[in-house]
Symmetry: C2
Subunit: 435 residues, 2 copies
């Protein structure tokens, strides 16, 4: 985890081209990192020549779908700083293992050589860092040294080693705000209507966004809340007992639940009769709040409700945390600075330098120190019964949602028209991505 | 629908007390109406003496759960103007028919007499206006004349006669903004991930909030969208055909669907195997987006996603439309002004005076002209295939989402702590609401 400075594989005095790409689930601030990457490249014109972005992440490299950003207009840069989604399109696509599909790696190398790419900046989560690492190794081993740096991003906050991940703070602000609003709704109507409400948060195997709902305590200290993070197995009996107890004392109960929560036997909680889409062994989650809500409705013989914000929580241009925005900007900037320093195969991560006031710096770690790892909500953030969070969790969460840096509104809606980019003309023969 | 001025039943020169209550599903701006009611009462002290609010609507009247607002603090009034939920708690509870339960009406009369209530202002939707009407008639017929005025409110926008309902514009802004953000998300990832996304909007039998998703066209004119309002039966074949066509041309498809959409045989679209809670013949909706999403996932053999914002769309203190805020304020103010004029058994409604620029005035209609009626999305707002909206719909929707008047943020979250009110000491014997 210590800062280090591996020897740069780029052994030239001459400026090289740089390729940036986005991968994995989007965040509300991923394009802020893109803007920071582009601006920092512009500030280092002695190191960098042309700037390209690949469309659809590494898939766009294979397909030679590239955008030339060298002369990007200032207005476009400004727009990137507010745009949700992935402006350069993000892929759920990883390279196959080298031994299974060497053609993919040869193609990446061919494209990198053709466009004289000396720097590769990959903006993604833990899965994407594996891809970045593989590309870097292959290119270096095959005579085309490429300085490869990751740009951290995930709403899931599950990247290892870093204090937090850019993208998480805004999603956490979205979840906490939504949960707070809904709690006031239920608080005001439970006497003759809904007594139980569940909100489902994303995060697959980690409960970071789920615990963010607990920030409601800062506004309603005695809120009758149940928090079910993915880290703890779901125990129906204990859950019902707590629902009963909270409703007996407060008249209602609000619950935040991780989409990926599992039963004690390791099975996902799903709705009987609904088939899940399987895709490359990827179980599609979503719907646990509905299941919980129906279970409680039967248990209480009373009306219950649930919300599933789904993608709305990761693309909320109107709910951007100012701190998160800054972290996303710094993640992009620090990645380019690492490249300038000649660091290779690294990821800039957030290191807390002070809790109060909140301050941080970036340091680099090796990509393979974070690739494919998953950071879970630690024990000390969870109450003994596994259904609430501690003051330590609130201390961790609070700084990350501070401040507002949302997209400006125009005519009643966020002013975020899709940004149009024209890809460069292809120079190579087509490549079949799917063999 | 013409403005009229029935003779006031209050035949006295002396100031009388006023009772305000909230009923039915909440909106983000219902308390704005409450603040307007209180402020306008304060401005007419020659007409009004004490101001009370009932807790839990008409149920609080039966239970003598009353709050004295006569000396409400300025800070509390200011807070009401941003507070989501129902500050005085709203009920899903109507009086029984008089012939079935005369005791309820006798009790209301007893409470009104005890607290010398001469004015009753009921803030609710079409169902609540029935209750207001029944109370008014009974009191007048039994020697205690009460001037009874409705205050319009519903996110569903289904109140008859009025141009629109206070509460709708903010919920519409929430739906349109959420849908816009999510569309940019899917647009940026569909190449290797989700190709179909459905968002479910509230509104039971009417599609007003569903068509609000169509406002995304103002930002993304060529958006591949399907809009399924409750007004049109769901035809699976036509729906799949349109999904296929949009995905073929744009690569993805986004869909807004009414929670209450039914099949051509009149049945709700539900998830097989999930039981719905029935309560007083009230079918609990919610989940159709999940069903649609799974249907499309099977049809396409591809990943799909869905969002169900549920209560979050009606309590979004951070997504208040300025126009809607003003409409809610005016609805409260105009109700009090109608009472001052001695109008009885009426509801102030919004009458459009100009489309461009958007301007309106209030006029009063008789409560029984709107009670229990339901205004549907008109034919001319829906495309011929029933799965899209027209320019006329956009013209109608646009003005209602203009401007932002959200709750201020404090420490990263909307500054909306629950407002604490102390009920007055009871003077009467308890009353069993449930026989």
């Amino acid at each position: 985890m210590n800062a280090h400075q591996p020897k740069s594989p780029v052994q030239t005095q001459q400026a090289k081209n740089v390729l940036y790409a986005q991968a994995g689930g989007v965040t509300a601030v991923i394009n802020v990192s893109a803007a920071a990457v582009i601006e920092t490249i512009q500030q280092n014109s002695e190191v960098f020549d042309k700037t390209y972005a690949a469309v659809n992440g590494i898939k766009g490299v294979l397909e030679e779908e590239l955008i030339d950003l060298t002369d990007i207009r200032d207005e476009t840069l400004a727009q990137l700083k507010y745009q949700p989604g992935a402006a350069f399109k993000a892929c759920r696509f990883d390279l196959d293992p080298l031994e299974h599909n060497p053609e993919q790696y040869q193609r990446v190398l061919e494209v990198f050589k053709t466009y004289e790419i000396g720097y590769f900046l990959y903006n993604g989560g833990n899965g994407s860092m594996v891809t970045a690492q593989k590309v870097a190794e292959y290119c270096c081993q095959h005579g085309h040294p490429v300085t490869c740096v990751g740009v951290a991003k995930t709403i899931d906050n599950d990247l290892a080693l870093t204090h937090c991940s850019p993208g998480f703070g805004s999603a956490a602000k979205y979840i906490a705000t939504s949960f707070l609003n809904a709690t006031l709704d239920i608080m005001s109507m439970h006497n003759t209507s809904t007594k139980f409400f569940a909100l489902e948060a994303m995060g697959r195997n980690t409960g970071w966004l789920t615990i963010a709902a607990g920030l409601v305590k800062d506004v309603i200290p005695d809120v009758p809340i149940i928090i079910l993070p993915a880290e703890r197995p779901f125990n129906e009996k204990a859950f019902f007992d707590k629902v009963d107890q909270l409703i007996a004392s407060k008249g209602y109960c609000v619950c935040a639940v991780s989409e990926g929560i599992v039963k004690e036997n390791g099975e996902y909680i799903t709705i009987a009769g609904v088939e899940h889409t399987h895709e490359r062994d990827y179980v599609q989650l979503g719907g646990v709040a509905s299941t919980l809500s129906h279970l409680v409705g039967k248990h209480l013989n009373s009306k219950t409700h649930y919300a599933i914000p789904d993608y709305c929580q990761r693309s909320a241009s109107h709910m951007v945390s100012k701190i998160d925005w800054q972290l996303a900007y710094d993640a992009g900037k620090e990645a380019v600075k690492a490249a300038v320093r000649g660091e290779h195969g690294v990821l800039p991560i957030v290191k807390l330098t002070s809790s109060t006031p909140f301050s941080y710096e970036f340091e680099t770690v090796e990509l393979n120190a974070v690739a494919d790892l998953e950071k879970h909500v630690p024990e000390e953030f969870l109450a003994e019964d596994g259904m609430d969070i501690t003051e330590a969790a609130l201390d961790y969460l609070r700084p990350l949602i501070q401040g507002e840096h949302s997209a400006p509104f125009k005519n009643g809606l966020p002013n975020i028209p899709p940004i149009q980019f024209t890809p460069v003309e292809k120079q190579l023969a087509p490549f079949a991505v799917i063999k």
